[in-house]
Symmetry: C2
Subunit: 378 residues, 2 copies
Amino acid sequence: MAAKKKSAGSAQNGATERDRKTLRKIEELASATLRTVEKADNPAVALRVRALSNVSFNEKKRIIELGDRVQSREFFNTNMARKFMQTFLVANGCRELILQNKTVTIRQMYYILKHTLRGSSENTFEEQNESDPIIEDVEVATDALREELHLFANKKGLAAGSLVVNDAGDEIDLARMGRGGWGIPSICEPEVLKFVRSKAKFIMLVEKAAVWSRLNEDGFWKKNECILLTSEGQAARGIRRLLQRLATELKIPVYVLVDNDPWGLYIYSVLKQGSINLAYESMRLAVPGVRFIGMSSFDYKKFKLPNSVEIKLNKEDLARAEQMRNYPWFADKKWQNEIKELQKNGFKMEVDSILSKGISFITEEYIPKKLRDRDYLT
Amino acid sequence: MAAKKKSAGSAQNGATERDRKTLRKIEELASATLRTVEKADNPAVALRVRALSNVSFNEKKRIIELGDRVQSREFFNTNMARKFMQTFLVANGCRELILQNKTVTIRQMYYILKHTLRGSSENTFEEQNESDPIIEDVEVATDALREELHLFANKKGLAAGSLVVNDAGDEIDLARMGRGGWGIPSICEPEVLKFVRSKAKFIMLVEKAAVWSRLNEDGFWKKNECILLTSEGQAARGIRRLLQRLATELKIPVYVLVDNDPWGLYIYSVLKQGSINLAYESMRLAVPGVRFIGMSSFDYKKFKLPNSVEIKLNKEDLARAEQMRNYPWFADKKWQNEIKELQKNGFKMEVDSILSKGISFITEEYIPKKLRDRDYLT
């Protein structure tokens, strides 16, 4: 790409202040390396180690963080030379994206950068699983969010409710989206997505699109003056960033409604304190204040659900539940009780199963009672 | 559900003319059965056979159709009694949905209907794979679309471009959706979703959300005055119905851009002539006029793509390609050549890989050239 499109690249070309800052970081990475070359040293990039051994749970901030342990990636090292070259290919690719003010997915970036090295049969990258970790390296090395590098993972998630946004110049009223909702962009940084106004008293994020549709059709967000989001499964980076910004800028509580199984707990936990993989970005993606409103293992008795909602826990569920109990962020007694009850029940439940009590029971009884009783975990 | 919510049900309660019609169909199904009981006959429901043996490709209409072969589902038949009971449970469940003017997913319907029969340990349904085929039976028996029964599969797909819709009372300008797009509802029937105005000259449907984002960011639909859709993989019923209505009501051509592999061909083919599974709904979902704009196996040479775009065909791909060649709707020579070229290439390609020629090559060169040269298959 760089070869095809000539760009008299300097940091001034960036569209926004943030872009200019990111460009400076990338250029600093390159010039630091050049300086070592000029001094006839071995060119190297210092990278914080992205491994479980360098990840910890910050009890005070309540987020998962990357530690300070650093490794050096050197050019004159047969084991590292290929990765060294790849690091600068990715950094330069991102620089081009910023200069052209365009964004691509990490898969598209792989295609943009993949080519056969001149005079050899060696490819710059063989598979995407080779370029993805390098992208993470560049994020860490430049201390820039992936979104600041103009890269994104696939977009996922829908929004509706009491919120007017301005996205890329379009003013969009999320209270007038019909049954469809607004597709949450992959990149939700303040430069492109602005919150114009909102009367929302809280945010409700549900795991499943079908539950979102049920609540939307029942006018849940109108009756309760809130913002209704669905992550459509595990939350993508876009919705995590959106949620963090909404929680911080609007200063309203966030409730999360996921299936009653270890996977649902995991979705909640990633929203709350971040993930081990992306530990270096927790401070910009995690929302430590999110409230787990359900579906709780105690809801079975509390709401007298019929036995038709039970789905037997399988081996993997049981192993995963045990793992959950050992995470430091679930160490509190209330969480231990919650997970123990799941194990004791011997079954999991989907949020959809609440409909066995009536089509709109979830909208008219289940959630209102939970909110009224302040029946949630944090 | 029916037991909990009392509804002095009569066809008049339906919200729309269409709802009233569907209610009459369901009630006719029930009363026909009742009449046989009164005559002391064996109660039975006549159902068109939904099996490959009763499916054929209508060469003239260019859609896959269900034949007229009928089977009788009888109450006094040990093999059929359970299904007989389930058929009426589903029919009654749909009747309740219509009366309450609510919609649910087929999974939620399963939860609503699942219960243990009084005085026994037998469940009405054990798993969703037991209720789903019964729902299809009721669709066929009442000659109603699933959407008319107020049921839907999960929602998927995004839209942007030159189109203003009115959905459930909200007027939504798809030209002002920022980078997010409007989430396509699961149910796109004319009673809830109306097309207000459009200047679009054509519709472009792309398989992947990432490609949609690329085109949207490049302003493709602005420059070309069109409507830009993504199915986010295999097209759900909502987007198929939307596409059919757009093509018919706006009378504009539809172009489809999918990956160059047998799976991409399959996505195109389902949009075009329907699927074997849902053969009984082809006339309401299929769009025989859709144009396959790519990605064609010949594009590799035509656009001088680098070898980094090649992904070796695996065993399954090869078998699937051979299967495609034998479908009657791909019998035409041009299609045989297209599929033969795929086999000859020995590799498949993703639309994303076009970015190897430049970030916006797809928007500025690839698609415009295809449109200019009328380089597509039908």
